[in-house]
Amino acid sequence: MRLGVVLFPGSNCEQDVVHAAHELGIGAEYVWHGDTDLAGFDALVLPGGFSYGDYIRCGAVARFSPVMSEVVRFAERGGPVMGICNGFQILTEAHLLPGALLRNTGLKFICHPQPLRAERSVCHWVNLPEGTVVDIPVNHNEGNYYCDAETLERLNANGQVVLRYCEPDGSRAPGGSAPNGALDDIAGICNERGNVFGLMPHPERAVDPLVGTTDGRPFFTTVMARLAEVAG
């Protein structure tokens, strides 16, 4: 199985994703944003960072990179795509996922460990039992997920909400548990089909036990196991 890690100018978590993949025995290679050949990749990750400096709007320029039309095609064919942080922002800008990521309500960048609860979802990347709490860091300035009421209803009804911010015991605080003001505490969503997944937290930072928890491991291994199964 080969994981393609798409590198935009200004990406800065691509090496971390590759390290996490290697720790888990997954082959991973970089894909330059100017390339248009995704042949041979079984799954794609759009890593975190500040593509094009995020000067206009996070992900707004990256979606026009040559590689993105291929990423869209790859996703349309059912190929698994995960966008982490800036990668999530790019996926919403490319309309592969609904909604948008607004500036954190606290108006500050946040970097800290964050409890998340897994929801029952159709996501190909995650199959944790509903209510499982994982501890994975967040690291962003624009992670405040927003969509209109109709979209939210659809996300909930279709099992597209994959992860929610929560308290350490898995409960959700009455005023919301999102550190960034995200709507309905949403930390990660997938498309209706389940192959495209975007999340603000950084699972690659929760793989190598020397520098964090290992709660992020399933976010890489699940989809690989699934692909192996499909490949027979």
């Binding site: 800065n12 500040f50 094009y52 960048f109 970097c111 690291n139 950084h202 690659e204 190598d208 520098v211």
Partner: protein
């Protein structure tokens, strides 16, 4: 040769640009004629205090700069040490005080950008940054603005680059109200063989400017801002502050490291203070060659720029490379891949002269080496400040009434935990990406940051690590600069040792008032003497550094603040140690001995609003012995936690270890000293460690052999920090105060509103 400066006007322009008359006359003597406008600007910048170190150069010679691990000492863009197995780290600290006092976000951001460029210029990949900040007290709205802006700027730049901000320190004191300090430190990692120096060579080689276009931003930053003190005209200096573009810097890092990796460059230098002038003339003088630059070839972002503007612009995110003609195509291809212009603007010559042309017309022609090397060196008078006698005579124990009894002493401990100089810095470092690159083993908030050595994204992971800490207590330096500066080194070394690292080398950032005032200059030389003596005794060389003078506002200098950035090495990252108590039942041991030393303490400041007395003494041998015991014990794997005693004394150290471990402790201290001294004395050379019960004897043996004072003072457990007869404090309550204090000070309105809500 353009003749654009009448001889009678030249001295006046020179004065405006900050040159003394004697310095101007020296320029005329070098050139044998009246300088052109361009030349005068270039000399004024290169001979400014900021670029030439003309007042400090002589004193800096006191520092030991050599050692077996040193691969590159001071004089280059950054110092470099070997850290084992062929790996090397480059590091340096630099000030960006004056720009930040005018525009905190951009000032701090470009401070980070500048120091990061110094690191990758050496061929090292930047892997971490730290910072050392000083502001006035947060009850003043402007100070909150400066503090919030600087933190946001450091985060905004570093986060975008993907270089983790892993540590730092901050103090709030009235002395910094008119002149905040923003010192940024960066660390880079490379293989020893990749070390690159900024030495231009080979006549006929091309000079290539890589990165951003050149504009009028930051013109005269080094001379106008950095080399003068502040007065009521400070706001007018805003145009001298540069604006940062971290995205371009990120591309520059990647492009330059690739160019170096492929061995395509003869030399590489960054454009910092004094822009093209400084970068080019330093490269030329190191290589003993000449340069010719045509300013019309420099890509410009503004119209009608004059040659002098182009030559001294401090536009950010630019690098200067020397390239052989046959490799130019490959260099330009790589730059283009990263979306960066790479433009030939001139060439290396064998004339030894720095020639500036505007098209066909020569607008400057100077002996290249005179810009970097012929600045006058001053030996200003130094005089011990008169105020010291009275301050040092003050005896805190006999001259003040002190609190007593468990209730009052516990309340005092809470006051100290809430003090802006002691409370948790979480509010700051949660705004920084401190984890990217996946090497941050010990996060901010412990004694020192610990970083694994390796490039995880390239499959290169080692078992080695480095530990880094930046420290300086300006209050101690104000009361006794020699001792205060030693404490800065001692504390940094102790912090690194507490994390399990053996101190290897330091960088420094020496922040002082005007060197032209004898009393200020005395504090400067005394600080250097103190640091140098400590560094020599401990064989910890100074490998890079920066001097920032003229930190004054309306004639009032800041506290002398010689900030130390120390890097140490861990042979085995598995032995990294943190400050939090780990397990109920562990035995708490104090290595070192408490004395009655409350002079200059945080206790005196918080409880008595007094800054006086003698700072704690430093025993160089005892400090070294303490570190050896600590490192031996950590190396044997018996130390569960280690935390040094600094501001707030052992009481605060114990409280911090309880808070970090979310567990209490039962402690018994001696009764030879008055209670406040026992608890809050800031005696140096002390570390609180915990070990399992069965390891106590081994730790005792190690301490005994090295004659390091050893005392079992209690055990870990429960939910309360109980110091027998003195303190009774719940861990949750302490944690709330300690963690919440800084946010409360920055946003007082919100805290008041919440309190009203609670009461209502």
């Amino acid at each position: 040769m353009r003749d654009d400066l009448p001889a009678d006007l030249a001295p006046r322009l020179a004065e405006e640009l900050g040159l003394k008359l004697s310095e101007y006359e020296h320029v005329v003597e070098i050139l044998g004629r009246t300088p052109t406008v361009t030349e005068l600007y270039m000399y004024s910048l290169m001979w400014s205090e900021h670029c030439s170190y003309k007042h400090s150069r002589k004193s800096l010679r006191m520092f030991p700069t050599e050692g077996p691990a040193v691969l590159q000492g001071p004089g280059e863009n950054a110092g470099v040490i070997g850290v084992g197995d062929g790996w090397a780290v480059a590091f340096k600290m630099e000030s960006h005080n004056h720009p930040s006092a005018i525009e905190p976000y951009q000032g701090a951001a470009t401070g980070v950008g500048g120091i990061i460029r110094d690191i990758f210029t050496m061929g090292a990949r930047p892997i971490a940054s730290l910072n050392s900040l000083r502001f006035g007290t947060l009850d003043k709205p402007r100070q909150r603005y400066l503090f919030e802006g600087a933190v946001a700027g450091i985060g905004g730049y570093g986060n975008c680059l993907g270089v983790p901000t892993v540590g730092g320190e901050v103090y709030f004191e009235e002395a910094y109200e008119g002149n905040c300090l923003i010192n940024a430190m960066a660390i880079g990692l490379m293989r020893e063989e990749d070390l690159m120096l900024a030495v231009a060579a080979g006549p006929g080689n091309l000079i290539v400017l890589i990165g951003s276009t050149t504009g009028r931003d930051g013109i005269g930053g080094a001379s106008v801002l950095a080399s003068q003190e502040f007065d009521e005209k400070a706001e007018d200096k805003r145009p001298s502050v540069q604006v940062g573009d971290p995205f371009t810097e990120k591309l520059l890092i990647e492009a330059c490291l690739e160019l170096l990796q492929r061995d395509l460059l003869v030399a590489l230098g960054d454009l910092g203070a004094a822009g093209l002038t400084s970068s080019a003339s330093e490269m030329a003088s190191r290589g003993g060659v000449g340069l010719e630059i045509d300013v019309t070839l420099v890509p410009q972002r503004e119209d009608a720029m004059k040659p002098f503007e182009i030559m001294v612009s401090e536009s950010q995110e630019r690098m200067l490379a020397v390239v052989t003609p046959e490799k130019l195509g490959e260099v330009q291809d790589i730059c283009e891949h990263w979306g960066l212009p790479a433009t030939v603007i001139g060439q290396v010559t064998d004339t030894g002269r720095f020639v500036i042309r505007e098209g066909d017309e020569v607008v400057g022609d100077m002996p290249a080496a005179t810009l970097a090397h012929d600045a006058p060196i001053y030996d200003p008078p130094a005089e011990r400040p008169a105020y010291l006698d009275e301050l040092q005579r003050f005896d805190p124990l006999s001259e003040l009434d002190h609190p007593g009894g468990v209730e009052m002493l516990t309340a005092t401990l809470f006051d100290l935990l809430a003090s802006p100089n002691i409370c948790s810095r979480r509010w700051i470092w949660e705004q920084y990406d401190h984890q990217v690159m996946l090497n941050t083993v010990v996060l901010p908030g412990s004694d020192a940051a610990v970083l694994r050595i390796g490039m995880p994204g390239r499959g290169e992971v080692t078992e080695r690590a480095i530990a880094a800490s930046s420290d300086c207590n300006g209050r101690y330096c104000y009361l006794d600069p020699y001792t205060g500066a030693q404490i800065a080194v001692a504390e940094a070394a102790r912090n690194v040792a507490c994390a399990g690292g053996r101190p290897a080398a330091i960088t420094d950032c020496l922040n002082f008032g005007s060197p032209e005032k004898p009393e200020v200059f005395w504090t400067f030389t005394e600080s250097i003497r103190g640091m140098a003596d400590a560094c020599r005794a401990w064989e910890v060389p100074v490998i890079s550094g920066n001097v920032s003078f003229y930190n004054e506002s309306f004639g009032q200098p800041i506290y002398p603040t010689p900030t130390v950035g120390l890097v140490g090495v861990l042979e085995d990252v598995a032995h990294h140690t943190t400050l939090g108590f780990k397990q109920a039942g562990d035995v708490v041991v104090l290595l070192g001995e408490t004395g009655a030393e409350l002079g200059g303490s945080e206790y005196l400041k918080v409880v008595h609003e007094t800054v006086a007395g003698l700072p704690p003494r430093v025993d160089l041998d005892a400090e070294a012995a303490l570190r050896e015991v600590l490192l031996a014990a950590i190396g044997e794997g018996i130390v569960r936690s280690a935390h040094d005693c600094s501001e707030g004394g052992i009481a605060v150290a114990l409280a911090e270890s309880c808070i970090a471990g979310a567990v209490g402790a039962d402690i018994h201290l001696g009764d030879e000293l008055p209670p406040v001294a026992e608890l809050f004395s800031e005696t140096q050379g002390r570390v609180v460690v915990t070990v399992a019960e069965d390891a106590v004897e081994r730790l005792f043996e190690l301490a005994f052999e090295a004659a390091v004072p050893f005392a079992v003072i209690g055990t870990v457990g429960g939910e309360v920090l109980r110091i027998e007869g003195l303190v009774e404090a719940g861990v949750v309550e302490m944690s709330d105060v300690f963690e919440g204090a800084l946010a409360g000070l920055v946003h007082p309105e919100e805290t008041i509103a919440t309190e009203e809500l609670r009461e209502g």
